[in-house]
Amino acid sequence: MTTAAAPALLEDTQLSSRAGGLYRHQNIVTGLIGGIGLGAIGWALSHQFLQGSNWGTDMVVTVTMAGWVIGLLLGIGAFNAPVLWMLGHDQTHEDELYLAGVGQGPRRYWKFCTDHKVVGVQYLIAVFTIFGVGGTLAMMIRTQLVSAHSSFLGANAYNAIVSVHGMAMIVATIIMVTGPFGNFIVPIMVGAKDMAFPRLNALSFWLLFAAVPPLLATFVLGGVDAGWTTYAPLSVQAPPAMDAFAITILTFAVSVTLSGINIIVTVLTMRAEGMTLNRLPIFTWGAVIGSALGLYAMPAFMVGMVMMITDRVSGTSFFVAAVGGSGWLWENIFWIMGHPEVYVILIPPVAAMLEVVSTFARKPIFAYKVTVGAFIAIIALSIMVWAHHMFTTGWAPDLNGPFMLTTELISIPTGIIFLCVIGTLWRGSIWTRLPMYWAYLFLWNFIIGGVTGIYLSDVPADNYFHGDMFVTAHFHYTLLGGAMIAAVAAFCYWFPKVSGRMLNERIGKVAFWMVAIGIQITYFGMFWEGFEGMPRRVAYYDPIFLHANQMATVGAYLLMAGFVVLLYAIIHSWVHGRPAPANPWHAKSLEWMVPTPVPLENFLVEPVVTADPYGYGEPEPAAPAAEPEREPVPVGSAETTAGEPV
C-alpha cells in the first residue's frame, strides 16, 4: 500500500487534551443516559399533569418518546454546535478534527462522529440491525400463517408485528444505500474530502438511531394495529403505540431530509476538479436523485404524522369524519409521500447496481445519459401517480383514468433501466464474481415485479387485486427482489473498500442460491394466494389458501436462512477475510483510487478528473499523468492554521 509512505495521516495527528471540548465527554452512553433520563422526566411530568385529560395515555407516550429523542441527541452532543453558534462561539479546527474521530480508534464509532466513513459504517450496522428485526418479524408472520387458524401469535400481536415489520423494512430500505454508501462512497466518488455538512451527517445518523427504539416500544404499548400505512381513522383509534410510531416516523423523516440535503449539496459543490456532471458515476446520480425525491416525500410524511398526533393527543379532527375530517385526507397525504418513497428506495440501489454491472461486464454503462434522464423522468412521474394506491377507495373515481395514465407511463423510464442493463451486458466480458450474481438476480426479480405491477396499474384488474396478497408479492418482488438485492450487489461490491477485507465468495454464493430460490418460492406462493383472493394482513385465513401459504412460509424460511448465511459470510470475512487491495475489481471510479482503509479526508492528493469512470476497453486518457507533479500535501497537518470559521 502506498499510503504507508505518507508521513502524516490525520489519524496520527496529536490533538491537545482540550480539543473537542464538551464532545470529549459525550458518547453513546451519555446519549442513552440523556435519552432515558429526559424520557423519564417527560414521563413523570406528563403522567403527573396530563394523564387525567381525555387523551392522557397518548399524551404521556408522545411526551416520553419525544423526550427520549431530544434527550439522546442532547446527550450525544448533537446540539452542542448550534447552541455554541448561537452564543457566538465557533469550533476550532482542532475541535473539528476531534469530532472527525482523530486518535480515537474504534471508540469513534460510538460517538457523534463527523467522519463520513464512520457515519457510513454506523449506518451500515443500523441497516443490518433493522433488517434483522424486520426479518425476524417476517418469520413470525410466516409462522403464524403456516396454518389457517394458528394460535402462534393471535390477532393483536399479529397486527402489531405486521405494522412494525412494514415500517422497519421501509425505514431500512430507504437508508440501505444512501445511508452506508451515500455517506461512505459518494464523497470519495466525487473527489471530496468529506460530506458538505459533516455535523449534519452525524446528526442524521443519530436521529435514525433515536427513531428505532420507539418503533420497538410499540410492542409493549399495545401494538400498532393499523399496518405500516396506518390508515386513518383506524390509526386514530389505535393503542398508544401509535404515538410512538408517529414519533419514530417524524424523527426518521427529519433524518432522511437532512441526509438528503447533505448528499445533494456534496455532489453539487464538492466535486473534484474535472468531475463534470457528464463524468459523475451513475451511482452518484442515483444517490442525488433519490435524495431529491426524499426531500419531496418526507415533508408529506411529517405533515401527515403531525396531524395524526394532534388527532390522537388533542382531539383535532383532520382524519375523523364524524367531526369534519376525512380518512381520504390521510390516504392522499400518505401516498403523496408513499409512492415517491418507493423510488427513494429503488433508485439509489439500482444506480449502484449499474456500477456493478459495468464493472463486471468490463464495459461502459450503456446509454448513460438516457439512463440518468430515465431516473429523472421516474421521479418526475412518481410525484404524479400517488392515487393509484387509491383506485378502490372511491375517493375520486373520475381521476382513476388520469392516474392510470401516469402510472403506466412510468413503465417507460423504468424500461430504460432494463435497456441500460442488457445493453451493458451485450457483448461484455462477464466476470462472474459475487456482486454480479446479485445483479443478475436483480434482473430476474425486477422483471417479475415490473410485470405484476402492470396488472395493478390497470384499474379493472386492480379492482380485484387491490388489498390482497398479490400486491404484497408484487411489492416484495420490487423492494426485496429488486431494490434490496441490488443493494446486496452494491454491498458485496463495496465491502472490500468499507471493511478492508475481501468477502468470502464461497459462502456468499451459498447464500446467494438460498436467497434466489427462497424469493421465488415465497413470492410465487403469495402470487398464488393473491390470485385465489386472500386479503392482506390477515392473521387467520380460509383453509382454501392453505397450500399457497405453506409454500410461501417454506420459501420464507429458506430466504431468511439465506440471509443468515450471508450475514455469516460478512462477519466471517470482516474478521478473517483476505486483506483487500485498494482496487480489487480493477474499477475506474475514484473510490477505488484511494487506499484501503481510506484515510481521513480520503485523498492524499486532490484528484483531477479527466474522464468518466467507465472507460473499459478505451485507451486511457493521457491527462492524469500531468497531475502527480504536485507535492503530496497531507491535508490538515500542522502547516494549515486554524482559520477563523464563519
Partner: protein, 235 residues
Amino acid sequence: MSEKPGRERKPKALGIILTFVAVAIGVAVVAILFHAQTYTSPVGTQVAKSVGTVTVNGQTLQHVTLAFNTYPDASGSVDGQAIHPGGNPSWPSYGPTNQFQVPAHALVTVTMRQYDSGGSLNNPWFATVRGTVGSVARINGRLVHAVNPNNVGHTFTVRGAPGTDPGFFVNVPLPAVPGNNQSDNGQYETVIFSFVSGSQGVYGWNCEYPCGTSVAGFGGPMSAFGYMSGFLHVV
C-alpha cells in the same frame, strides 16, 4: 502503519454488529412475546358443562351450558371475579374468561349477567337477537326478539373464522343497566339464550356496542384481544 489500527478495529466492528443485531432482535422478540402473553391468554378456557341431551327442531342434540358475565371494569371489583391480572383494570370486560369451548352441533345455553351501563349502538341492526334458537333471548325472565338500540350495554356477537361455517352467526344484545354503573353497585341484567353450535373450528366473538375509546368507540378494550372479544372453540 494504517494496518495496525485496522486490525484492532475489525473485531470491534464485528462486536458492534453482533451487539446491535442481538440486542435489537432480543428486544423485539421479548417485547412481542410479552405482548402476545399479555393480550392473548387471560385466564384459560371455559369448557362448557354437559347437562344431557335436548331435542331441537326434531333433532336430538347434546346440551351444554356456559356462564359468563360482562363487567364495567376488568378489576373484578363488581362480584369478586378477577378477570385480567394486570393489563388495564379500568376497561370494560367479559369474564371470567374470553375463551370458551363447546362441542360441535350441540345446543349451547348461555347464562350471562350484564353489569355495565351503556348507550346507543353504531348500527341498530345489532339490537335484534339473531341466530339463537327461536331468535329470542330471555332477558330478566322475559323472552324478547330485540332490545332498544339506544340502551345497549354490550353485545355478544359470534361468527366463524374464515372458511368455517359461514352461515353460523349469533348476535345477542345485552341491555344496559340503568344509570351510570361505574360505581359498581352490583346491579345487573340477566340474559339467557341458546344456540346450536356449528361444525368444528375457531369462532370469533366480540362486542358490537362501542364501549371502547376513540372516534367510533372501538379503540382500547374493543381492539385489544381479551376484553370485549374472544374465541369460541368448537371441538
